[in-house]
Symmetry: C2
């Protein structure tokens, strides 16, 4: 039995069930383990000795929260993360996670729209790897400002990208689809099809849109009970030892042997 | 500079600071990482292939909560944990953590005082290792019922013991001190000096009472910022890679080479 790829709706249902009275998990717990898994997956592929500077890009939702947790753990692992939150989340948990990062002396780029693009351009030149925690499984197109300008810059940076759950800009179910975005240059519109990450970290179970993903693919979110797994027929692989991530077999021909 | 061993008061201060407005951590986050560290330390010393059956003994306080988190992660790691909570905690978080364990199909011994000792005796015969999450750094003697009967049974079981923060029954600052407890036999009083664990997992930083501990000693709680570490002059060792625990050098002559 192969692993199940989830629709956005089923992913949402599982999340709700985990946090229901019956599931009893708090968002704090799930986000802590999800963010830790993202940090571990990045550390497995990009050691801190060769890739110390991580630009952690966070969206305004829960996936941005996973990114903040990951940034904190990366800092504990000896990386030098920098946060980029062009539109910081407004939830209390998001703000607490931001403070925890500040307490770890993790710096942030400005979220002032007038400075975002300049600061991002500079930060990309001085980063070794990007952690993309911008859009998660509840994302639906179109990509709005400021992300319509941000995503093409990340994509064009030439830096390796680790995406969380679904590469930002991809449709959660249909995968890579091109759409028009505001170009970086004045007045231009360009076709854009989302980021092209080198590594994907799916949380709980992979999403349908990731079926065509051909690069290194990890699964995190080691908190699903056997009962929940069976109910949703997830067919999750065994995680090794006490790790928080497991690597999935690669699809297609782009395998790095 | 060697690692600092904390008084109960300083340990309490650091805990409060982590969860203050300035520290911004929630108890859910800290307990999740602490419990995960305990599970990882146990897994390093007692592989699931040789020690699958773990009796997880939880006190009524926050350390019991760490034990519940550890039990859940041990279950995810492929162990078969059983919970023993002779006096379950009353806090909401404790109850949520219990439900999470139930959802993982982790069984519990009865907490009915009439059945506790019989069930425990039986469970000890069918356990490979004990996780002692009974008393933590806020414990102060004397040991009250039902723990005055429970601790000698654990100590006499011959099973390897992994203790969290401080071996249960030890004074947090003075270490191993003998005291009188109700014996298992009717009307008897016996001298008892606490558990003699094979492994200790100190959280955040070791406590003064653990200075004389001579067996394998791990540190967990990889959430302390450099600023907090410096403020309290903790002199923490570097954790390896993306691990949640680091082994401390052993004191004295009981080293297992």
């Amino acid at each position: 039995m192969s692993i199940r790829y989830l629709t956005a709706k089923v992913a949402q249902q599982i999340d709700e069930e985990l946090m229901s009275t019956a599931g009893a998990f708090s968002l704090d717990q799930l986000m802590e383990l999800a963010g830790l898994a993202c940090a571990q997956a990045l550390a497995k592929v990009y050691p801190r000795e060769t890739h110390p500077r991580v630009l952690v890009c966070c969206g305004p939702g829960n996936q941005g929260g996973d990114g903040l947790v990951a940034a904190r753990h990366l800092s504990q692992f000896g990386y030098r993360p920098t946060l980029f939150m062009p539109k910081p989340g407004e939830k209390n948990i998001y703000q607490r996670l931001q403070i925890q990062c500040t307490n770890m002396s993790i710096s942030s780029l400005s979220s002032n729209p007038d400075e975002t693009i300049n600061e991002l351009t500079h930060a990309l030149n001085t980063s070794d790897v990007i952690l993309d925690a911008i859009f998660g499984f509840s994302f639906a197109p179109p990509v709005r400002a400021p992300f319509d300008a941000v995503l093409p810059l990340l994509a064009g940076s030439g830096r390796p990208i680790v995406s969380v759950d679904i590469p930002s800009g991809w449709d959660v179910e249909k995968g890579k689809i091109s759409f028009s975005v505001k170009g970086v240059k004045e007045g231009g519109e360009v076709e854009f099809a989302g980021l092209e990450p080198d590594v994907l970290v799916s949380l709980t179970a992979p999403k349908l849109g990731a079926m065509a993903f051909k690069e290194r693919h990890f699964l995190g979110g080691r908190f699903v009970s056997r009962a929940l797994e069976n109910k949703y027929e997830l067919n999750l692989p065994d995680y090794p030892g006490y790790e928080q991530v497991v690597e999935l077999p690669q699809n297609g021909s782009h395998q790095k042997l």
